[in-house]
Symmetry: C2
Subunit: 281 residues, 2 copies
């Protein structure tokens, strides 16, 4: 993998890092390459052009997804690729009526899939007691997330864009019925994929300063406050530039967790998991 450090790539690195944090980057500039450029330029894109995806796109993204690590090679995930407009519309209705699900040419629902090995155990007459534990669901959720993120990196490297849809967990049983899922398969999140509508572009959203999320040797709670205060200002400016009210990060985020109701139905995820066959021991 080439790691060029010409003046041009140094400038690209500086620009990418400053845009990602919305603040000047004063630390030494690291080695840089095309992949880092693509990773740093990520934006969640909700508006798509009416352009079909090239043949073979789905297979490429799945090959990238399957190349991600998976706990003990168990491969406890699956994905359903949806292109049928009616099914996309029904899934959109189940996921907070998000129009991007209808608009994207391709909608992927990523699944934590404990059924595949359960069925294999059943065919082999083998016990699969481990399935009943919280841990195996965690393995499935993490496997699905690692795979999906590789697909996102792959599609963005190919010039496509997308957005994750956490609202697929608003009504997991109904989504499972729509997709014909067997027991012990959880829709973890959705992913819209398409080409961005250049007339309605999304911007790179600045993130928390590194000092807030990165800890050295041990967790450092006190030093986070300053960084959060600065970030509230940075994100406030970003919100203003986007024509939103400059609420900042803290108050926006707290509103999401204020009450059971602010979870938009996801307060009953545990019941839904039980209904889908997860014992969660």
């Amino acid at each position: 993998m080439s790691t060029v450090t010409s003046p041009e790539t140094s400038a690209a690195a500086q620009r990418a890092l400053e845009t990602r944090y919305g603040t000047p980057w004063s630390a030494p500039l690291p080695a840089w390459n095309e992949t880092l450029d693509s990773l740093l330029a990520h934006r969640s894109v909700r508006n798509y052009a009416d352009t079909p995806l090239p043949q073979g796109t789905l297979e490429t993204l799945i090959a990238a997804a399957q190349s991600a690590s998976t706990s003990s090679n168990l491969q406890t995930w699956s994905v359903v690729a949806i292109e049928d407009p009616q099914r996309k519309a029904r899934l959109a209705a189940l996921a907070g009526n998000q129009s991007q699900i209808r608009e994207a040419p391709l909608f992927l629902v990523w699944l934590a899939d404990l059924n595949r090995l359960e069925a294999a155990a059943s065919r082999a007459g083998a016990s699969a007691e481990g399935l009943q534990h919280m841990e195996t669901l965690f393995v499935g959720v993490i496997d699905a997330a690692l795979a999906a993120q590789n697909a996102v990196v792959a599609m963005e490297s190919l010039g496509m864009s997308g957005v994750y849809i956490g609202a697929i967990r608003n009504q997991p049983e109904q989504v499972a019925a729509e997709l014909g899922l067997p027991p012990r398969v959880l829709p973890v999140f959705g992913l819209c994929i398409g080409y961005e509508d250049a007339s309605r572009p999304a911007q790179i959203k600045p993130r928390l300063p590194q000092q807030v999320v990165l800890h050295r040797e041990q967790y450092d709670a006190p030093s986070q406050q300053d960084g959060i205060a600065r970030y509230d200002e940075v994100i406030g400016e970003f919100q203003t530039a986007q024509g939103q009210s400059a609420a900042g990060w803290t108050s926006r985020s707290l509103a999401r967790w204020r009450s059971r109701e602010s979870l938009h139905g996801r307060d009953r995820l545990r019941e839904a998991l039980n209904a889908l066959g997860f014992e969660l021991r």
Copy 2:
């Protein structure tokens, strides 16, 4: 992002796809680029050279990680970077005595972090009832996984290698104590990072055929059996080439879930979560 389709890159794509699946690739070859090459070439590497990481590596990986999507921009993850040999040794002892934790120059523990917003709520005198629900832990785990995978893609693009350590969940309370974690922060997994020891190289592990994990419009259970049977042969050959017994995938995987004991302590993850302050409502 360049997407070259010269004969050379077509050959690279063909080679990458055939190695990833351990079978011939007969579908049309997709567009290809450096990032896809790096993604497809992923290997879990457990043997490291005695080479320090270049200055600025950690900051680059964290910038890549923070560029990943995060649910509603809540950024419910943190990471602890560990370089102290004694601390690495103590963490290795807590995580199944995996020598790669001691050997890697950098060990990252990725955290689902609900404490940051809880502390902000507490400072603001705001309610944070949503915290008590299973859903918010899921958000933290997924956020952490997406971020970590971006860091993996970044470090592999820079010529480094690594391996995830799920065994960090064997004894979560002890890991939390070692890292000084406040309540409602879960160690999700570890990640070893270093330069591979070229004298002990790891191989690309073939994955399940696409037909087994990729479903069109609805979940397809019956067609998975054939693909799994073929994969048992492919992975059997891989195991033989690695000097392991050719147990195949199905029997190896079922052994992991056979009993409560085969989870290596992770059968008590739910109790550990409760002890760490997660109500899981």
